[in-house]
């Protein structure tokens, strides 16, 4: 426990979290500080490319682990099933309409790339190693939740399924899924030699770029919080409780599957985090009746900051405790 508190402290004082806090405070104080949108998008692409490539290269150098297939299957299952849990909680605790609850549920089955990236930098900072293929697991967990969410919503909607083709297409060929997976494969193919080639671009400046991006995430989170009337106490509670439950389940399953303490913590992080890229775009198209102010606000402005500051060290502490490390 003491350990967890110390870890939480060192997490809160890392430049990454401090830049998030700076962005958050600046937007709360209505400063006109802002990152141009094409830059934010480019950095987001950079993070995916870099994390994918590094994961693939690490797979190439450490080889395929016996537990890999199991963890991948467990990840897909989690992404499919967590929305059911999230739906019940969103209905009961946050009192959302069925449609809004289904849309929110889809977000929590999916994952947040920045949360994963921040968690893996945190592990690296503490010298905790983890399985390189966790990046591939992340890519696999990104989309199944969308299907669950739409399935949940469909039971409450009286309308023909127009545009379903476009939605499925959007789901499986979403840019972030394609880039993550593609970079992972390229990393695996190019291996250590390829890594040496591109390391000065994707490895050395990575943490600094992440700081810059988290500054923007802080601005975005606070702007959402400030501008919204969509957040009720129940929804706020959901935004904190749901990652705790998801994270606990994730840590439990991760350790059962035989992941290292670091890998277990990351599986917890994936389960605890909520999407803010792939899922909102899909919901907008397939479930326009759902209110984007609700799902974007709870995902970006409640759960993301919670995970970044408190959640990550917590899931690591739990992973260490449960794996006996």
């Amino acid at each position: 426990m003491l350990d967890a508190v110390a870890m939480a402290g060192s997490n809160l004082l890392s430049p990454m979290v401090l830049f998030f806090v700076l962005g958050f405070l600046a937007a709360m104080a209505r400063s006109d500080l802002s990152i141009p949108e094409p830059i934010a998008k480019a950095i987001s692409l950079y993070l995916m490319l870099a994390i994918g490539f590094k994961g693939g290269a690490s797979l190439a150098s450490h080889g395929v682990d016996a537990t890999m297939i199991g963890v991948a299957a467990a990840g897909i299952a989690m992404s499919f099933l967590l929305p059911m849990l999230a739906f019940i909680l969103a209905r009961g605790l946050a009192r959302l309409s069925p449609i809004d609850a289904a849309a929110v549920a889809a977000h929590y089955g999916s994952i947040s790339i920045v949360t994963f990236v921040s968690a893996s930098e945190f592990l690296r900072m503490l010298g905790v190693s983890f399985e390189g293929y966790m990046v591939a697991v992340m890519a696999l967990m990104e989309t199944p939740a969308i299907i669950s969410g739409l399935w949940l919503a469909r039971r409450y909607l009286q309308r023909p399924d127009s545009g379903r083709g476009q939605v499925l297409h959007e789901v499986f060929l979403n840019g972030s899924v394609v880039l993550l997976t593609g970079a992972f494969i390229i990393g695996a193919v190019s291996g250590t030699k390829g890594m040496t080639t591109v390391a000065p671009f994707i490895d050395a400046p990575f943490k600094g770029v992440l700081c810059f991006f988290l500054l923007d995430m802080g601005l975005i989170a606070a702007n959402r919080l400030r501008g919204t009337r969509a957040i009720s106490p129940g929804l706020a509670a959901f935004g904190i409780l749901m990652p705790l439950i998801g994270g606990a389940i994730g840590v439990l399953i991760g350790s059962v599957m035989g992941l290292s303490p670091g890998g277990t913590a990351l599986f917890g992080v994936l389960s605890a985090s909520a999407s803010y890229i792939a899922v909102p775009a899909a919901m907008r198209l397939a479930l326009p009746e759902a209110n984007p102010a609700v799902y974007l606000t709870v995902s970006l402005a409640i759960t993301f900051p919670f995970n970044l500051t408190v959640g990550i060290p917590l899931y690591l502490a739990a992973a260490r405790w449960i794996t006996g490390a």
Partner: protein, 102 residues
């Protein structure tokens, strides 16, 4: 200068829906369209500013110049297709020189 009367349709719609709208414009037989990005706005669903990473609330303005009849057909089809979505559509009258182009 001799001019010809045409209709200008403007549609402000969520960016994920743009492919569907432009496909419809093609199908109806308008001669073209032009897309513009908006950087913020407010409507029944509340405020939004740029797309803030998610792209979910980003709105695109689509301008179509077309003859009255085409414009009307487009309007009818659009209002059916986009009924459930957050979007606005409005029409005005313009004068053009090259009648053949629209």
């Amino acid at each position: 200068m001799q001019t010809h009367t045409r209709k200008k349709l403007e549609i402000i719609v969520d960016s994920p829906l743009v492919p569907r709208v432009t496909a419809l414009i093609d199908r109806i037989g308008a001669t073209g369209y032009t897309l513009f990005q908006s950087i913020g706005g407010r409507g029944a669903e509340g405020d939004w500013r740029e797309d803030q990473l998610t792209g979910a609330q980003q709105k695109i303005l689509i301008k179509v110049i077309a003859g009255e009849e085409t414009a009307n057909r487009l309007l009818e089809n659009l209002s059916g297709e986009l009924e459930r979505y957050s979007c606005i559509i409005y029409v005005s009258t313009v004068e053009v020189i090259r009648a053949g182009k629209f």
